[in-house]
């Protein structure tokens, strides 16, 4: 059953659920944050349309800074601005920021405790036709390894909006991950969000498997839970937008209830969200675990839904993974 406290979309399992991109959620959230705090500035690396940074430019032209195609400089300039009192949001494709400018983020932002928000757009294989060069699958791993860095991977456009506002209010470095393709908006303005907290989105009386998901794939996890329930398999879905800090207590609690866990993410299995869950549970409450993600491969061109199927990340594969743990 969809968890009532999560106040999810009334259309949760319908085909015609509203779809929107998480980058559009960024566009809405950054306006909200920018209106509330004059210190917020947005830096853009020649991608203002596709990152939605242009929305901020239209609203606050004097606080929008075009950096050109220079992601390394964007990160370090932002660190300088932060130390001079600004709250910079730096925007580009995740493949380039943090892909290309990792060292600048590491030294001038993370080590330096600069109040910069790194916004990686077009993350994951669902970028689609652009292909492997632009499909960032290692960003969560890179960012969650950095001390002082918060890592947020919102599930839909509405949660992306909340994540941007929360990042603005949090003092310190944050990495925010966004996608290119429209995805189901399964949360509502009433759905709780806070950094470090997971959200139960589906629950059963006696779950035999728990699906832990981050990012937009949580909707696939919900569809999977629904199908499993129809087949008599009780499950729960814990949505984890906050990859770092991880909601350790909630994750251990569901491990204790369900004894079997499937993790789902649009990222390399190595070093990603599933790795973080495995690290936690293997030390504190070992259970059977199956991690779904990209398995040590690069992406390729294709339509987003084709790619999610090809790489085994859709509801069908989540169901199969859950069942494999029940044998």
């Amino acid at each position: 059953m969809p968890e009532e406290a999560a106040q999810l979309s009334a259309n949760l399992l319908a085909d015609d659920i509203e779809k929107k991109t998480t980058r559009d959620g960024f566009g809405i959230g950054i306006i909200e944050a920018g209106r509330a705090d004059e210190r917020i500035v947005v830096l853009c690396a020649d991608l203002k349309e596709s990152t939605r940074a242009e929305v901020f430019e239209k609203a606050f032209p004097e606080r929008f800074v075009e950096m050109g195609v220079a992601e390394q400089n964007m990160a370090a300039v932002a660190a300088g601005m932060a130390l001079a009192g600004k709250i910079p949001f730096i925007t580009s494709y995740a493949a380039f920021s943090p892909g290309r400018n990792y060292e600048q983020i590491r030294t001038t932002i993370a080590l330096n405790e600069a109040n910069v928000k790194v916004c990686g757009m077009h993350a994951g294989v669902s970028v689609g036709p652009d292909g492997a060069t632009h499909q960032m699958l290692e960003d969560i791993g890179m960012m969650r390894m950095l001390p002082n860095m918060i890592v947020i991977n919102p599930g839909d456009a509405e949660e992306a909006r909340k994540a941007v506002v929360a990042a603005a209010l949090h003092t310190g470095p944050v990495y925010l991950r966004f996608g290119r393709a429209p995805t189901p908006v399964f949360t509502t303005p009433g759905t709780p969000f806070s950094i470090g907290k997971a959200l139960m989105v589906w629950d059963s009386k006696a779950p035999v498997v728990a699906i832990l998901s981050t990012g937009a794939l949580t909707h696939e996890a919900l569809l999977a839970a629904h199908v499993l329930a129809e087949g008599g398999v009780e499950s729960l879905v814990l949505h984890c937008p906050s990859v770092k800090p991880l909601d350790e207590e909630d994750i251990i609690a569901v491990a204790k209830r369900a004894h079997r866990i499937v993790t789902v993410e649009e990222h390399q299995i190595a070093g990603g969200f599933g790795s973080a869950v495995a690290e936690l549970l293997s030390e504190r409450h070992p259970v059977s675990l199956k991690r779904l993600g990209i398995n040590d491969r690069f992406g390729q061109s294709g339509e987003p839904c084709e790619l999610l199927t090809h790489y085994g990340l859709d509801a069908v594969h989540i169901i199969a993974a859950a069942k494999s743990l029940l044998v």
Partner: protein, 237 residues
């Protein structure tokens, strides 16, 4: 800073890290050890300070706006503060002119005409692996910065009055960032090590032994400096 604290340089638990860190050492504007990140951060600071001269960003916004956490502002910002008339100075090496980020920053500062930014380059021609023009040629540096929209001044880096007037001249340039290329002699004053890249980043006592044994290097160099290379007598052993 007590003088004896210098002996803790690069030692466990010291505020004096091998490469200085803002969050450990009071008074530092930022952490910029890795080459190429200094000019970019300085440019960001200069840009932000210029925004502030047009807009007092520290003023809390209208009702419903976020409250400013002044404790955090203190921790997370350097002591630059808001307001006009402040300048940013960035001291660079010449070797780091090989970093791509340096030129990205030069382009940025040039585009936005960051006239409140003065960069200083220690042009001593050496880097870790050899002479800059052999490792990866940098010249013509002055022309390059001019092409990037900078005002370029070249001075003898050991000529302090000339350097001071260059710094003053930079303040009078209103439409461009300024770079002062300070030509220096590495190891100046100790003939045996002048111009020798093998002494780059090496303290007396840790250098090549073709003139002095390691144990003699400190004393030998001091003797040379104090006697102006043997031209005057001195009382030190």
């Amino acid at each position: 800073f007590p003088v004896e604290e210098c002996l803790t340089l690069r030692k466990l638990g010291s505020r004096l890290q091998g490469h200085p860190e803002r969050t450990r050492l009071p008074g530092l504007e930022t952490t910029s050890g890795p080459l190429g990140s200094g000019l970019a951060q300085a440019s960001g600071m200069a840009y932000a300070l210029r925004m502030d001269s047009m807009l007092d960003v520290r003023r809390p916004t209208s009702p419903g706006g976020y409250a400013l956490d002044t404790a955090h502002v203190g921790r997370l910002t350097s002591n630059m503060g808001a307001g006009s008339g402040r300048r940013v100075y960035c001291v660079m090496s010449d070797g780091e002119q090989q970093e791509g980020n340096t030129w990205e920053a030069a382009m940025f500062a040039g585009k936005y005409r960051l006239s409140n930014l003065t960069a200083v380059m220690d042009r001593n021609n050496i880097q870790i692996d050899g002479m800059t023009e052999e490792v990866m040629p940098l010249e013509p540096l002055a022309d390059k910065y001019r092409a990037f929209g900078w005002h370029v001044l070249e001075v003898g880096g050991h000529d302090i009055p000339a350097f001071i007037s260059a710094v003053e001249e930079a303040k009078a340039i209103y439409e461009k960032p300024t770079i002062i290329i300070a030509h220096t002699i590495p190891g100046r004053g100790v003939k045996e090590i002048e111009f020798d890249y093998r002494w780059h980043g090496v303290p007396p006592g840790g250098g090549p032994e073709d003139v002095w044994k390691k144990a003699e290097q400190g004393k030998g160099m001091l003797r040379e400096l104090r006697s102006l290379g043997g031209r005057i007598s001195h009382d030190y052993a």
